[in-house]
């Protein structure tokens, strides 16, 4: 089948699948920097027309990055479930879009299909979708995971409490943590990005979070977001590690840039499981991703950044994570230039991850050199809340003073809960009620000075 289509009076031909996928992508600065974006709006639609007529099978049978040279490709090919793929095996990408949107396709069909889908298939179909299509299909997906609470249930939204501090100061972290808990934040995870990578400093953070969670019996889990090798070492040293974190990307070479490979992730998962710290489930991994990571490591093999991102989800899927977080606007304007591109990417990532069966969350965020502001984040927050995102971030005042970027605030999560009627994880919601922090509807109660959490923690910080 020739890869060509006409738009207007001109016919556009494409050399291979990589070129079709790249040129069918909605415009973003990263693909332009890589020199693989469509040269005109008409060429973009021509690539979409070619993509619409492409058999889904071809995306399974023809590899964008060679099987022999990339372990992510090998993972994708070797783990593909042909039986699960059968219901859509005869479709083109355009027909697949219509099947996904059809009223007759529901949660059960999508869950059964997930193991039969590859990253390339979901990336391809996403390129034919408008934002409303990405939302409509994603909200039909349901991915539920558990460790000490249950995340991803219908009508629920979890939040990562992110109490970072530029020098890992224990009292500074505790103050932000307390503020977040009082806002009902923290059911996804209490996760700290440490400034230091010294084992002693990291150990202090793991112990501090463990003591806090145990002392108040908080139904949540902790994570210190350092390199996976440091976390394996911490587990071997007997430290109380709940979730193991790692940034992952969609090509073997990009993962090498992170200093990881699939075997290391497997080792980390087994180490975390050996501690048996989860009470409700065995989802022990927390992954972060983001469009542009492969390109920034010069490891994209000419594949567009959104398809590379979807391939990262194949890596994540292998290790049964509790949480997968697309840190969508962190990477900067050379990859996603403005609010429009960040919003589009956030919806694509959530859609692709959910279709592949992942517990997708999103760090709705931007940096100061991107053409974006809080209004763009409000927009993406409402869109992703509508799409059924599993979790978002909770950062004091939306201003992360350690990583120097802007995310969603404790206030923002309250807003989206009220606007869309989204509850917290059920175990966490019950805990808030038991602590007198929220009423039976999940509404925050006025904080009394003798409230136990506030009283005990404030005393410790005095």
């Amino acid at each position: 089948m020739s890869l060509a289509a006409a738009v207007g009076v001109r016919r556009y031909a494409f050399a291979d699948l990589r070129e079709v996928l790249a040129k069918a992508s909605p415009l973003r600065s990263g693909d332009a920097m890589a020199g693989i974006a469509a040269g005109s709006a008409a060429e973009r639609v021509a690539a979409c027309r070619v993509l619409a007529d492409l058999p889904l099978r071809r995306l399974r049978d023809e590899q964008l990055i060679a099987y022999e040279s990339d372990e992510v490709t090998r993972l994708i090919v070797d783990s593909h479930d042909g039986a699960a793929f059968a219901p859509v095996a005869g479709q083109t990408v355009g027909e697949f879009r219509e099947w996904l949107l059809a009223d007759s396709t529901g949660q059960a069909e999508l869950a059964a299909l997930a193991p039969g889908l590859t990253p390339e298939m979901v990336a391809a179909v996403s390129k034919l979708m408008r934002n409303q299509d990405l939302i409509a299909v994603a909200r039909k997906c349901r991915v539920v995971t558990a460790f000490r609470d249950t995340i991803g249930l219908p009508g629920r939204l979890a939040v990562r409490l992110q109490p970072n501090h530029p020098t890992d100061d224990a009292r500074g972290i505790a103050a932000a943590l307390l503020d977040g808990l009082m806002y009902g934040v923290g059911d996804a995870v209490i996760g700290i990005n440490p400034a230091s990578d010294s084992p002693a400093a990291l150990a202090a953070l793991w112990r501090m979070l463990d003591e806090l969670i145990a002392r108040f019996a908080i139904p949540t889990q902790s994570c210190v977001l350092t390199h996976v090798s440091s976390q394996i070492a911490a587990i071997e040293a007997g430290l109380p590690v709940d979730l193991v974190f790692q940034s992952v990307a969609g090509t073997e070479a990009a993962n090498a840039g992170f200093g990881i490979n699939l075997a290391m992730l497997q080792e980390a998962r087994e180490a975390a499981l050996s501690l048996q710290r989860g009470t409700l489930g065995e989802h022990v991994m927390y992954f972060e991703t983001g469009q542009g990571s492969a390109l920034s490591a010069n490891a994209h093999h000419g594949v567009d950044q959104q398809t590379c991102e979807a391939r990262a989800y194949a890596v994540a899927r292998q290790f049964k994570p509790l949480l997968v977080n697309s840190v969508v606007g962190f990477i900067g304007p050379e990859y996603l230039y403005d609010g429009k591109q960040i919003i589009r990417a956030g919806l694509e990532d959530h859609f692709c991850g959910k279709l592949l069966g992942l517990p997708m969350g999103c760090d709705i965020c931007y940096t100061n050199h991107a053409e974006a502001d809080q209004d763009d984040m409000d927009n993406l927050l409402v869109l992703l809340g509508t799409a059924g995102v599993n979790f978002i971030m909770g950062v004091p005042g939306a201003d992360d003073i350690m990583l120097n970027y802007q995310s969603t605030s404790f206030h923002d999560q309250l807003f989206v809960r009220q606007a869309l009627g989204l509850k917290r994880a059920p175990e966490f919601e019950s805990w808030l009620q038991a602590m007198g922090l929220a009423d039976s509807d999940g509404r925050l109660l006025p904080a009394a000075a003798d409230q136990r959490l506030l009283r005990d923690l404030t005393r410790g910080l005095a």
Binding site: G172, A174, E334, H369, G397, I401
Partner: protein, 254 residues
């Protein structure tokens, strides 16, 4: 006035962190003052990204230090929008400037150190802090063969590699504005690269960051840089090997 914003009762905890905690709330919203505080910090950061470098003022201030006239160059990024989207263009000299530097260097000898002051992601950082830093640094470099100062627009760190090579410098020091945060819109970064040439990797550099009066003050930064320059020239390297011994942070270049 009824139902004013309810203040959070643990405001004393705010003293423990620079994070925006204990803001209080009105419904799910932030109180107006907190919202405007955030907007002000973001506005300063945004303006820092887009404000052009006043190269005339910099060149005059440099001339007053008595080390000869500065050269002015431009990267291949011809606008701020291009600069932000194409870091690769910010790492290479505009062709005319590259040719001019090379022609000048053909008549000059080798240099121990070339210094580049660039806008980077926050021109105010270079505008405000580069000259105080250099005024403190230059007396400590007595006896070194200094290339003429180069003032660069739409510059990334790696632009110094091409400049240093063109000027036949053994070492290049690049001073430019770091990506502005909400808490500091004018942090200067200093990057030192031995044997500069196009294609050097970030791991081959040493970096001092957060140079500003309320961070690492320019005079203190000058002391550390003078030490690094001496070490780099005598040991003929920069990067990880130097970092470990000096116990200095090696940060990724913007």
């Amino acid at each position: 006035m009824s139902a004013p914003a309810r203040p959070d009762p643990w405001a004393q905890l705010r003293a423990l962190t620079g994070a925006r905690i204990a803001l209080g709330r009105c419904g799910s919203g932030q109180p107006t003052a907190a919202q405007l505080d955030f907007a002000a910090a973001h506005a300063l950061a945004r303006d820092a990204v887009h404000q052009p470098l006043d190269t005339d003022a910099l060149a005059e201030a440099w001339a007053a230090l008595g080390h000869g006239p500065a050269r002015r160059v431009h990267s291949r990024a011809d606008s701020r929008a291009t600069y932000l989207q194409r870091p690769d263009l910010g790492r290479r000299l505009a062709e005319a400037d590259a040719a001019r530097l090379a022609a000048d260097a053909a008549t000059a000898g080798e240099h121990d150190l070339a210094i580049v002051v660039g806008d980077g992601l926050a021109a105010p950082a270079a505008q405000n802090h580069a000259l105080p830093l250099l005024a403190a640094l230059l007396p400590r470099l007595a006896g070194r063969r200094l290339a003429p100062l180069v003032i660069a627009e739409q510059a990334r760190v790696a632009l110094g590699d091409e400049i240093g090579a063109a000027l036949r410098a053994r070492l290049v020091l690049v001073l430019l504005g770091e990506r502005p945060g909400l808490s500091a819109p004018d942090s200067l970064g200093a990057y030192l690269t031995y044997a500069p040439r196009v294609g050097r990797r970030d791991a081959e550099r040493n970096c001092l960051s957060n140079i500003r009066p309320a961070g690492l003050p320019p005079a203190a930064a000058a002391g550390k840089l003078a030490w690094l320059v001496d070490q780099a020239l005598s040991r003929q390297l920069t990067g990880i090997g130097l970092k470990d011994e000096a116990d200095l942070p090696g940060l990724a270049a913007p």
